[in-house]
Amino acid sequence: MRIVLLCAQGMSTSLLVQKMREASERLESAVEIEAHAVDAFDQQLKTADVILLGPQIRYKKGEFISKADAANVSLDVIDMAAYGSINGEKVLKQALDLRKKRS
Protein backbone atom coordinates (compact mmCIF):
# COMPACT_ATOMS: atom_id res chain seq x y z
CA MET A 1 0.00 0.00 0.00
CA ARG A 2 1.24 3.44 -0.90
CA ILE A 3 0.41 6.57 1.08
CA VAL A 4 1.27 9.95 -0.34
CA LEU A 5 1.24 13.18 1.63
CA LEU A 6 0.97 16.45 -0.23
CA CYS A 7 1.65 19.98 0.95
CA ALA A 8 2.64 23.20 -0.79
CA GLN A 9 6.22 22.16 -1.39
CA GLY A 10 6.43 18.75 0.24
CA MET A 11 8.63 20.13 3.01
CA SER A 12 6.63 20.06 6.20
CA THR A 13 4.90 16.81 5.31
CA SER A 14 8.30 15.16 4.94
CA LEU A 15 8.77 15.67 8.69
CA LEU A 16 5.58 13.74 9.21
CA VAL A 17 6.59 10.98 6.79
CA GLN A 18 9.57 10.17 8.98
CA LYS A 19 7.32 9.69 12.02
CA MET A 20 4.78 7.69 10.05
CA ARG A 21 7.45 5.28 8.86
CA GLU A 22 8.57 4.76 12.44
CA ALA A 23 4.96 4.13 13.44
CA SER A 24 4.43 1.70 10.59
CA GLU A 25 7.47 -0.29 11.69
CA ARG A 26 6.05 -0.49 15.19
CA LEU A 27 2.69 -1.58 13.87
CA GLU A 28 4.41 -3.90 11.42
CA SER A 29 2.17 -2.80 8.61
CA ALA A 30 3.73 -2.86 5.17
CA VAL A 31 3.20 0.61 3.75
CA GLU A 32 5.15 2.93 1.54
CA ILE A 33 4.93 6.57 2.59
CA GLU A 34 6.14 9.57 0.66
CA ALA A 35 5.79 13.34 0.70
CA HIS A 36 5.45 15.44 -2.44
CA ALA A 37 4.62 18.94 -3.54
CA VAL A 38 0.96 19.44 -4.33
CA ASP A 39 1.76 20.05 -8.00
CA ALA A 40 2.63 16.36 -8.30
CA PHE A 41 -0.99 15.39 -7.57
CA ASP A 42 -1.87 14.06 -11.02
CA GLN A 43 1.27 11.99 -11.18
CA GLN A 44 0.86 10.59 -7.66
CA LEU A 45 -2.74 9.69 -8.36
CA LYS A 46 -1.52 6.93 -10.68
CA THR A 47 0.41 5.00 -8.02
CA ALA A 48 -1.03 6.03 -4.65
CA ASP A 49 -3.69 4.18 -2.66
CA VAL A 50 -4.22 6.98 -0.19
CA ILE A 51 -3.49 10.67 -0.64
CA LEU A 52 -3.50 12.96 2.37
CA LEU A 53 -3.42 16.73 2.05
CA GLY A 54 -1.71 19.02 4.53
CA PRO A 55 -4.35 21.20 6.22
CA GLN A 56 -2.80 24.35 4.76
CA ILE A 57 -3.88 23.25 1.30
CA ARG A 58 -7.26 21.88 2.34
CA TYR A 59 -8.93 24.23 -0.15
CA LYS A 60 -7.72 21.85 -2.86
CA LYS A 61 -9.85 18.99 -1.60
CA GLY A 62 -12.87 20.09 -3.57
CA GLU A 63 -10.92 20.02 -6.79
CA PHE A 64 -9.11 16.75 -6.07
CA ILE A 65 -11.81 14.57 -4.58
CA SER A 66 -13.63 13.74 -7.81
CA LYS A 67 -10.37 12.88 -9.57
CA ALA A 68 -9.37 10.70 -6.64
CA ASP A 69 -12.75 8.96 -6.60
CA ALA A 70 -12.47 8.24 -10.29
CA ALA A 71 -9.02 6.71 -9.77
CA ASN A 72 -10.23 4.74 -6.73
CA VAL A 73 -7.78 6.57 -4.48
CA SER A 74 -8.80 7.56 -0.95
CA LEU A 75 -8.26 11.20 -0.24
CA ASP A 76 -8.67 13.39 2.81
CA VAL A 77 -7.17 16.30 4.70
CA ILE A 78 -4.78 15.45 7.54
CA ASP A 79 -6.23 16.09 10.95
CA MET A 80 -4.98 19.52 12.02
CA ALA A 81 -4.00 18.60 15.57
CA ALA A 82 -2.21 15.44 14.47
CA TYR A 83 -0.39 17.40 11.80
CA GLY A 84 0.73 20.04 14.26
CA SER A 85 2.03 17.55 16.79
CA ILE A 86 3.69 15.50 14.01
CA ASN A 87 1.79 12.51 15.33
CA GLY A 88 2.88 9.88 12.82
CA GLU A 89 0.88 7.09 14.35
CA LYS A 90 -2.38 9.00 14.31
CA VAL A 91 -1.97 10.10 10.71
CA LEU A 92 -1.00 6.58 9.67
CA LYS A 93 -4.17 5.31 11.32
CA GLN A 94 -6.15 7.99 9.53
CA ALA A 95 -4.73 6.74 6.24
CA LEU A 96 -5.38 3.08 7.02
CA ASP A 97 -8.95 3.76 8.17
CA LEU A 98 -9.58 5.77 5.07
CA ARG A 99 -8.49 2.85 2.94
CA LYS A 100 -10.55 0.39 4.91
CA LYS A 101 -13.66 2.44 4.33
CA ARG A 102 -13.18 2.26 0.61
CA SER A 103 -12.42 -1.42 0.18
Binding site: C7, M11, L15, D39, Y59, A81, G84, S85, I86
Partner: protein, 429 residues
Protein backbone atom coordinates in the same frame (compact mmCIF):
# COMPACT_ATOMS: atom_id res chain seq x y z
CA UNK B 1 -14.64 34.27 17.84
CA UNK B 2 -16.12 30.99 16.67
CA UNK B 3 -18.67 32.83 14.59
CA UNK B 4 -15.86 34.79 12.99
CA UNK B 5 -13.93 31.61 12.24
CA UNK B 6 -16.94 29.98 10.64
CA UNK B 7 -17.56 33.07 8.58
CA UNK B 8 -14.00 33.07 7.31
CA UNK B 9 -14.01 29.34 6.67
CA UNK B 10 -17.24 29.63 4.73
CA UNK B 11 -16.69 32.72 2.61
CA UNK B 12 -13.03 33.69 2.66
CA UNK B 13 -11.45 30.28 2.20
CA UNK B 14 -13.19 29.36 -1.04
CA UNK B 15 -12.15 32.72 -2.50
CA UNK B 16 -8.54 32.19 -1.44
CA UNK B 17 -8.66 28.71 -2.87
CA UNK B 18 -10.05 29.96 -6.16
CA UNK B 19 -7.37 32.62 -6.50
CA UNK B 20 -4.56 30.17 -5.93
CA UNK B 21 -6.19 27.69 -8.31
CA UNK B 22 -6.84 30.23 -11.06
CA UNK B 23 -5.31 28.62 -14.11
CA UNK B 24 -3.41 31.60 -15.51
CA UNK B 25 -2.10 32.81 -12.18
CA UNK B 26 -0.98 29.30 -11.38
CA UNK B 27 0.81 28.96 -14.70
CA UNK B 28 2.56 32.30 -14.17
CA UNK B 29 3.70 31.22 -10.73
CA UNK B 30 4.88 27.80 -11.90
CA UNK B 31 6.62 29.28 -14.92
CA UNK B 32 8.56 31.74 -12.81
CA UNK B 33 9.35 29.10 -10.21
CA UNK B 34 10.90 27.01 -12.98
CA UNK B 35 13.59 29.72 -13.15
CA UNK B 36 14.29 29.38 -9.42
CA UNK B 37 17.41 27.18 -9.72
CA UNK B 38 18.86 29.68 -12.20
CA UNK B 39 18.14 32.58 -9.88
CA UNK B 40 19.87 30.88 -6.97
CA UNK B 41 22.88 29.85 -9.06
CA UNK B 42 23.12 33.37 -10.48
CA UNK B 43 22.91 34.74 -6.95
CA UNK B 44 25.92 32.67 -5.89
CA UNK B 45 28.03 34.25 -8.62
CA UNK B 46 26.62 37.63 -7.71
CA UNK B 47 27.72 37.23 -4.09
CA UNK B 48 31.19 36.21 -5.25
CA UNK B 49 31.50 39.21 -7.53
CA UNK B 50 30.07 41.66 -4.98
CA UNK B 51 30.99 40.14 -1.61
CA UNK B 52 29.88 41.60 1.72
CA UNK B 53 33.47 42.25 2.87
CA UNK B 54 34.92 45.46 1.48
CA UNK B 55 38.55 44.46 1.06
CA UNK B 56 37.43 41.32 -0.71
CA UNK B 57 35.09 43.36 -2.92
CA UNK B 58 38.03 45.53 -4.00
CA UNK B 59 40.04 42.44 -4.77
CA UNK B 60 37.21 41.04 -6.91
CA UNK B 61 36.60 44.20 -8.91
CA UNK B 62 38.85 43.42 -11.90
CA UNK B 63 37.08 40.07 -12.31
CA UNK B 64 33.58 41.50 -12.11
CA UNK B 65 33.04 41.45 -15.85
CA UNK B 66 34.00 37.79 -16.17
CA UNK B 67 31.84 36.91 -13.19
CA UNK B 68 28.93 38.73 -14.78
CA UNK B 69 28.82 36.13 -17.57
CA UNK B 70 27.20 33.42 -15.42
CA UNK B 71 25.05 36.05 -13.68
CA UNK B 72 23.70 37.25 -17.05
CA UNK B 73 23.22 33.72 -18.29
CA UNK B 74 21.10 32.77 -15.27
CA UNK B 75 19.49 35.69 -13.45
CA UNK B 76 19.60 37.75 -16.62
CA UNK B 77 17.49 35.26 -18.55
CA UNK B 78 14.47 35.37 -16.23
CA UNK B 79 12.11 36.77 -18.88
CA UNK B 80 13.21 34.30 -21.50
CA UNK B 81 12.91 31.31 -19.19
CA UNK B 82 9.59 32.59 -17.84
CA UNK B 83 7.93 32.90 -21.26
CA UNK B 84 8.79 29.30 -22.01
CA UNK B 85 7.90 28.09 -18.53
CA UNK B 86 4.57 29.91 -18.36
CA UNK B 87 3.51 28.79 -21.85
CA UNK B 88 4.49 25.25 -20.98
CA UNK B 89 2.64 25.21 -17.65
CA UNK B 90 -0.49 26.85 -19.03
CA UNK B 91 -0.63 24.47 -21.99
CA UNK B 92 -0.13 21.51 -19.65
CA UNK B 93 -3.00 22.70 -17.48
CA UNK B 94 -5.23 22.55 -20.60
CA UNK B 95 -3.84 19.10 -21.39
CA UNK B 96 -2.18 20.45 -24.52
CA UNK B 97 1.33 19.86 -25.78
CA UNK B 98 3.54 21.88 -23.41
CA UNK B 99 6.68 21.73 -25.47
CA UNK B 100 5.11 23.17 -28.63
CA UNK B 101 3.42 25.91 -26.60
CA UNK B 102 6.71 26.75 -24.89
CA UNK B 103 8.55 27.01 -28.19
CA UNK B 104 5.82 29.18 -29.71
CA UNK B 105 5.77 31.46 -26.67
CA UNK B 106 9.53 31.84 -26.94
CA UNK B 107 9.26 32.79 -30.61
CA UNK B 108 6.52 35.34 -29.87
CA UNK B 109 8.76 36.86 -27.21
CA UNK B 110 11.69 37.15 -29.59
CA UNK B 111 9.51 38.71 -32.31
CA UNK B 112 8.37 41.37 -29.86
CA UNK B 113 11.93 42.16 -28.73
CA UNK B 114 13.74 44.88 -30.71
CA UNK B 115 17.40 44.22 -31.47
CA UNK B 116 20.10 46.63 -30.40
CA UNK B 117 21.54 49.13 -32.89
CA UNK B 118 24.37 46.67 -33.55
CA UNK B 119 21.85 43.97 -34.33
CA UNK B 120 22.44 42.01 -31.12
CA UNK B 121 19.96 40.59 -28.64
CA UNK B 122 19.33 43.19 -25.93
CA UNK B 123 20.42 41.44 -22.73
CA UNK B 124 18.51 43.81 -20.49
CA UNK B 125 15.18 42.85 -22.10
CA UNK B 126 15.83 39.13 -21.60
CA UNK B 127 15.77 39.43 -17.81
CA UNK B 128 13.10 40.65 -15.42
CA UNK B 129 12.76 43.75 -17.60
CA UNK B 130 10.98 41.42 -20.02
CA UNK B 131 9.10 39.47 -17.37
CA UNK B 132 5.75 41.19 -17.76
CA UNK B 133 5.71 40.99 -21.52
CA UNK B 134 6.70 37.35 -21.11
CA UNK B 135 3.58 36.80 -19.02
CA UNK B 136 1.32 38.57 -21.49
CA UNK B 137 2.74 36.80 -24.54
CA UNK B 138 2.75 33.37 -22.92
CA UNK B 139 -0.93 33.66 -22.05
CA UNK B 140 -1.74 35.07 -25.49
CA UNK B 141 0.17 32.29 -27.24
CA UNK B 142 -1.47 29.46 -25.35
CA UNK B 143 -4.98 30.89 -25.61
CA UNK B 144 -4.66 31.31 -29.38
CA UNK B 145 -3.14 27.86 -29.68
CA UNK B 146 -6.01 26.45 -27.66
CA UNK B 147 -8.59 28.27 -29.77
CA UNK B 148 -7.15 26.71 -32.94
CA UNK B 149 -7.09 23.28 -31.36
CA UNK B 150 -10.60 23.49 -29.99
CA UNK B 151 -11.94 24.58 -33.39
CA UNK B 152 -9.87 21.85 -35.04
CA UNK B 153 -8.10 24.36 -37.26
CA UNK B 154 -4.99 22.22 -37.44
CA UNK B 155 -3.23 20.26 -40.12
CA UNK B 156 -4.55 16.71 -39.96
CA UNK B 157 -2.16 13.80 -40.26
CA UNK B 158 -2.97 10.20 -41.10
CA UNK B 159 -3.19 8.05 -37.99
CA UNK B 160 -0.07 6.10 -38.99
CA UNK B 161 2.16 9.15 -38.46
CA UNK B 162 3.91 8.99 -35.05
CA UNK B 163 2.52 11.40 -32.43
CA UNK B 164 5.74 13.37 -32.01
CA UNK B 165 5.56 14.31 -35.68
CA UNK B 166 1.92 15.32 -35.90
CA UNK B 167 2.08 17.16 -32.62
CA UNK B 168 4.69 19.47 -34.12
CA UNK B 169 2.41 19.99 -37.12
CA UNK B 170 -0.59 20.94 -35.03
CA UNK B 171 1.44 23.88 -33.77
CA UNK B 172 2.03 25.12 -37.32
CA UNK B 173 -1.16 27.04 -38.10
CA UNK B 174 -1.66 28.60 -34.67
CA UNK B 175 2.06 29.31 -34.62
CA UNK B 176 1.87 31.24 -37.87
CA UNK B 177 -1.08 33.20 -36.60
CA UNK B 178 0.59 34.05 -33.27
CA UNK B 179 3.82 35.22 -34.88
CA UNK B 180 1.92 37.23 -37.48
CA UNK B 181 -0.17 39.05 -34.88
CA UNK B 182 2.73 39.83 -32.55
CA UNK B 183 4.91 40.89 -35.44
CA UNK B 184 2.12 42.98 -36.99
CA UNK B 185 1.36 44.79 -33.73
CA UNK B 186 5.05 45.40 -33.19
CA UNK B 187 5.54 46.80 -36.71
CA UNK B 188 2.52 49.09 -36.39
CA UNK B 189 3.66 50.34 -32.99
CA UNK B 190 7.14 51.03 -34.30
CA UNK B 191 5.98 52.74 -37.49
CA UNK B 192 3.41 54.98 -35.88
CA UNK B 193 4.85 55.71 -32.45
CA UNK B 194 8.44 54.48 -32.55
CA UNK B 195 7.63 52.15 -29.66
CA UNK B 196 8.16 48.43 -29.09
CA UNK B 197 5.80 46.06 -27.31
CA UNK B 198 8.34 46.07 -24.50
CA UNK B 199 7.94 49.83 -24.09
CA UNK B 200 4.16 49.62 -24.03
CA UNK B 201 3.90 46.78 -21.54
CA UNK B 202 6.58 48.48 -19.46
CA UNK B 203 4.51 51.67 -19.22
CA UNK B 204 1.06 50.18 -18.99
CA UNK B 205 1.71 47.20 -16.76
CA UNK B 206 5.14 47.11 -15.24
CA UNK B 207 5.64 50.65 -13.95
CA UNK B 208 2.34 50.98 -12.07
CA UNK B 209 2.55 47.44 -10.66
CA UNK B 210 6.07 48.02 -9.42
CA UNK B 211 5.06 51.32 -7.92
CA UNK B 212 2.33 49.61 -5.90
CA UNK B 213 4.18 46.36 -5.21
CA UNK B 214 7.43 48.08 -4.32
CA UNK B 215 6.02 50.54 -1.79
CA UNK B 216 5.84 50.10 1.96
CA UNK B 217 2.04 50.07 1.75
CA UNK B 218 2.11 47.38 -0.89
CA UNK B 219 4.41 45.28 1.27
CA UNK B 220 2.27 45.80 4.37
CA UNK B 221 -0.90 44.73 2.58
CA UNK B 222 0.79 41.65 1.13
CA UNK B 223 2.30 40.71 4.49
CA UNK B 224 -1.03 41.18 6.23
CA UNK B 225 -2.86 39.01 3.73
CA UNK B 226 -0.25 36.25 4.00
CA UNK B 227 -0.56 36.24 7.80
CA UNK B 228 -4.34 36.37 7.71
CA UNK B 229 -4.48 33.36 5.39
CA UNK B 230 -2.06 31.42 7.57
CA UNK B 231 -4.02 32.36 10.68
CA UNK B 232 -6.89 30.50 9.02
CA UNK B 233 -4.53 27.62 8.35
CA UNK B 234 -4.06 28.24 4.63
CA UNK B 235 -0.74 28.48 2.87
CA UNK B 236 -0.63 32.27 2.60
CA UNK B 237 2.59 32.65 0.65
CA UNK B 238 1.60 30.41 -2.19
CA UNK B 239 -1.75 32.15 -2.53
CA UNK B 240 -0.50 35.74 -2.35
CA UNK B 241 2.62 35.02 -4.39
CA UNK B 242 0.52 33.62 -7.21
CA UNK B 243 -0.53 37.21 -7.83
CA UNK B 244 2.49 39.20 -6.67
CA UNK B 245 5.54 37.03 -7.42
CA UNK B 246 6.20 38.59 -10.86
CA UNK B 247 6.39 42.03 -9.29
CA UNK B 248 8.74 40.88 -6.52
CA UNK B 249 11.06 39.11 -8.93
CA UNK B 250 11.22 42.03 -11.31
CA UNK B 251 12.00 44.44 -8.45
CA UNK B 252 14.80 42.15 -7.30
CA UNK B 253 16.21 41.86 -10.79
CA UNK B 254 16.33 45.63 -11.06
CA UNK B 255 18.48 45.57 -7.91
CA UNK B 256 20.72 42.92 -9.44
CA UNK B 257 21.21 45.02 -12.56
CA UNK B 258 22.07 48.05 -10.42
CA UNK B 259 24.52 45.99 -8.37
CA UNK B 260 26.24 44.75 -11.51
CA UNK B 261 26.49 48.30 -12.80
CA UNK B 262 27.83 49.47 -9.44
CA UNK B 263 24.89 51.79 -8.85
CA UNK B 264 22.68 52.48 -5.84
CA UNK B 265 20.05 49.74 -5.47
CA UNK B 266 16.62 51.16 -6.33
CA UNK B 267 14.23 48.88 -4.40
CA UNK B 268 13.77 47.71 -0.84
CA UNK B 269 10.83 45.38 -1.43
CA UNK B 270 11.44 42.31 -3.54
CA UNK B 271 11.54 38.55 -3.47
CA UNK B 272 14.13 38.21 -0.64
CA UNK B 273 12.20 40.55 1.63
CA UNK B 274 8.89 38.78 1.11
CA UNK B 275 10.24 35.22 1.22
CA UNK B 276 12.98 35.55 3.82
CA UNK B 277 12.87 38.70 5.88
CA UNK B 278 9.25 38.79 7.00
CA UNK B 279 9.05 35.07 7.62
CA UNK B 280 11.98 34.19 9.84
CA UNK B 281 11.25 30.66 11.01
CA UNK B 282 8.13 30.70 8.90
CA UNK B 283 5.29 33.18 8.45
CA UNK B 284 4.65 35.50 11.39
CA UNK B 285 8.30 35.27 12.48
CA UNK B 286 7.41 31.88 13.93
CA UNK B 287 10.97 31.31 15.07
CA UNK B 288 10.32 33.78 17.87
CA UNK B 289 7.42 31.62 19.03
CA UNK B 290 9.50 28.45 18.78
CA UNK B 291 12.15 30.06 20.99
CA UNK B 292 9.54 31.14 23.53
CA UNK B 293 8.10 27.61 23.64
CA UNK B 294 11.47 26.02 24.32
CA UNK B 295 12.74 28.69 26.62
CA UNK B 296 9.74 29.93 28.58
CA UNK B 297 6.87 27.47 28.31
CA UNK B 298 5.63 25.89 31.52
CA UNK B 299 2.85 23.86 29.97
CA UNK B 300 3.93 20.44 28.79
CA UNK B 301 2.22 20.87 25.47
CA UNK B 302 4.10 23.99 24.41
CA UNK B 303 7.38 22.81 25.90
CA UNK B 304 7.23 19.56 23.94
CA UNK B 305 6.07 21.29 20.81
CA UNK B 306 8.92 23.78 21.13
CA UNK B 307 11.53 21.06 21.46
CA UNK B 308 10.07 19.23 18.52
CA UNK B 309 9.67 22.16 16.18
CA UNK B 310 12.47 24.60 16.97
CA UNK B 311 14.87 23.05 14.47
CA UNK B 312 12.45 22.81 11.60
CA UNK B 313 11.49 26.40 12.35
CA UNK B 314 15.16 27.38 12.25
CA UNK B 315 15.03 26.29 8.62
CA UNK B 316 11.83 28.29 8.14
CA UNK B 317 9.37 25.39 8.21
CA UNK B 318 6.66 26.43 10.63
CA UNK B 319 3.75 24.05 10.07
CA UNK B 320 4.29 22.14 13.35
CA UNK B 321 4.00 25.42 15.25
CA UNK B 322 1.11 26.73 13.18
CA UNK B 323 -1.02 23.62 13.60
CA UNK B 324 0.54 22.30 16.78
CA UNK B 325 0.34 25.25 19.18
CA UNK B 326 -1.99 25.89 17.38
CA UNK B 327 -1.67 29.41 16.04
CA UNK B 328 -4.31 28.62 13.44
CA UNK B 329 -7.75 29.78 14.57
CA UNK B 330 -6.41 30.49 18.05
CA UNK B 331 -7.77 33.81 19.31
CA UNK B 332 -4.89 34.23 21.78
CA UNK B 333 -2.02 33.83 19.34
CA UNK B 334 -3.87 35.18 16.32
CA UNK B 335 -3.42 38.85 17.25
CA UNK B 336 0.37 38.94 17.70
CA UNK B 337 0.72 36.67 14.69
CA UNK B 338 -0.92 39.32 12.54
CA UNK B 339 0.84 42.20 14.28
CA UNK B 340 4.44 40.94 14.35
CA UNK B 341 5.06 40.75 10.58
CA UNK B 342 3.65 44.26 10.12
CA UNK B 343 6.00 45.69 12.74
CA UNK B 344 8.94 43.78 11.26
CA UNK B 345 8.07 45.05 7.80
CA UNK B 346 8.05 48.65 8.99
CA UNK B 347 11.35 48.29 10.87
CA UNK B 348 13.06 46.54 7.97
CA UNK B 349 11.74 48.85 5.29
CA UNK B 350 12.72 51.95 7.25
CA UNK B 351 16.23 50.75 8.12
CA UNK B 352 16.90 49.80 4.53
CA UNK B 353 15.48 52.88 2.89
CA UNK B 354 17.46 55.26 5.12
CA UNK B 355 20.60 53.26 4.35
CA UNK B 356 21.22 51.81 7.80
CA UNK B 357 21.31 48.35 6.25
CA UNK B 358 22.00 47.30 2.67
CA UNK B 359 19.05 46.56 0.40
CA UNK B 360 18.52 42.92 -0.57
CA UNK B 361 19.44 41.81 -4.06
CA UNK B 362 20.39 38.14 -3.62
CA UNK B 363 17.91 35.29 -3.88
CA UNK B 364 18.61 32.39 -1.55
CA UNK B 365 16.60 29.20 -0.97
CA UNK B 366 13.74 29.94 1.43
CA UNK B 367 15.04 27.32 3.86
CA UNK B 368 18.22 29.36 4.55
CA UNK B 369 18.21 29.97 8.32
CA UNK B 370 18.55 33.30 10.16
CA UNK B 371 20.69 35.36 10.47
CA UNK B 372 22.66 33.95 7.53
CA UNK B 373 19.77 34.58 5.17
CA UNK B 374 19.80 38.24 6.24
CA UNK B 375 23.52 38.58 5.57
CA UNK B 376 23.43 36.69 2.29
CA UNK B 377 20.42 38.45 0.77
CA UNK B 378 21.80 41.92 1.46
CA UNK B 379 25.52 41.20 1.13
CA UNK B 380 25.82 43.22 4.33
CA UNK B 381 26.71 41.93 7.82
CA UNK B 382 24.37 44.53 9.26
CA UNK B 383 21.60 42.62 7.52
CA UNK B 384 22.25 39.83 10.01
CA UNK B 385 22.11 42.24 12.93
CA UNK B 386 18.83 43.72 11.74
CA UNK B 387 17.36 40.25 11.32
CA UNK B 388 18.28 39.38 14.91
CA UNK B 389 16.88 42.70 16.09
CA UNK B 390 13.62 41.89 14.30
CA UNK B 391 13.57 38.55 16.06
CA UNK B 392 13.97 40.17 19.47
CA UNK B 393 11.14 42.61 18.71
CA UNK B 394 8.98 39.67 17.66
CA UNK B 395 9.79 37.87 20.90
CA UNK B 396 8.72 40.90 22.91
CA UNK B 397 5.42 41.31 21.07
CA UNK B 398 4.61 37.61 21.30
CA UNK B 399 5.61 37.29 24.94
CA UNK B 400 2.50 38.57 26.78
CA UNK B 401 0.14 36.65 24.51
CA UNK B 402 2.25 33.53 24.78
CA UNK B 403 2.25 33.93 28.57
CA UNK B 404 -1.55 34.03 28.67
CA UNK B 405 -1.93 31.03 26.43
CA UNK B 406 0.72 29.06 28.28
CA UNK B 407 -1.02 29.72 31.60
CA UNK B 408 -4.33 28.59 30.19
CA UNK B 409 -2.80 25.36 28.90
CA UNK B 410 -1.05 24.77 32.21
CA UNK B 411 -4.34 25.12 34.03
CA UNK B 412 -6.04 22.71 31.65
CA UNK B 413 -3.23 20.22 32.06
CA UNK B 414 -3.48 20.38 35.85
CA UNK B 415 -7.24 19.94 35.74
CA UNK B 416 -6.81 16.92 33.52
CA UNK B 417 -4.18 15.41 35.78
CA UNK B 418 -6.30 15.78 38.90
CA UNK B 419 -9.22 14.30 36.98
CA UNK B 420 -7.10 11.33 36.14
CA UNK B 421 -5.93 11.04 39.70
CA UNK B 422 -9.49 11.06 40.93
CA UNK B 423 -10.36 8.44 38.39
CA UNK B 424 -7.41 6.32 39.42
CA UNK B 425 -8.40 6.58 43.05
CA UNK B 426 -12.03 5.71 42.37
CA UNK B 427 -10.91 2.76 40.30
CA UNK B 428 -8.71 1.61 43.15
CA UNK B 429 -11.66 1.69 45.45
Amino acid sequence: MNGFNQLMERYFMPVAGKISEQRHLKAVRDGIISAMPLLIIGSVFLIISSPPIESWAEFMEPYAETLNIPVNATFGMLGLVAVFGISYSLAKSYDMDGLSAGVLGLAAFMVATPLTDEGNLPLDLMGAEGLFIAIVLAIFTVEVYRFFESKHIVIKMPSTVPPSVWRAFTALLPGFFIILIVWGVDVILDASFGLSLHDVIGTVLKAPLELIGGSLWGALIAVFLISLLWALGLHGESIVASVLAPIWYSLTEANVAAKQAGEELPHVVGQPLMAIWFAVGGTGMAFALAILFVWRARSKHLKNLGKMSVWSSFFNISEPIMFGAPVVLNPLLFIPFLLVPLVVTIITYTSMSIGLVGKPFVIVPWTTPPPFSGILTTGDWRGGVLMLFNLVVSLLIYYPFFRLYDKKLQKDEKAEESDEEKKAISEDV
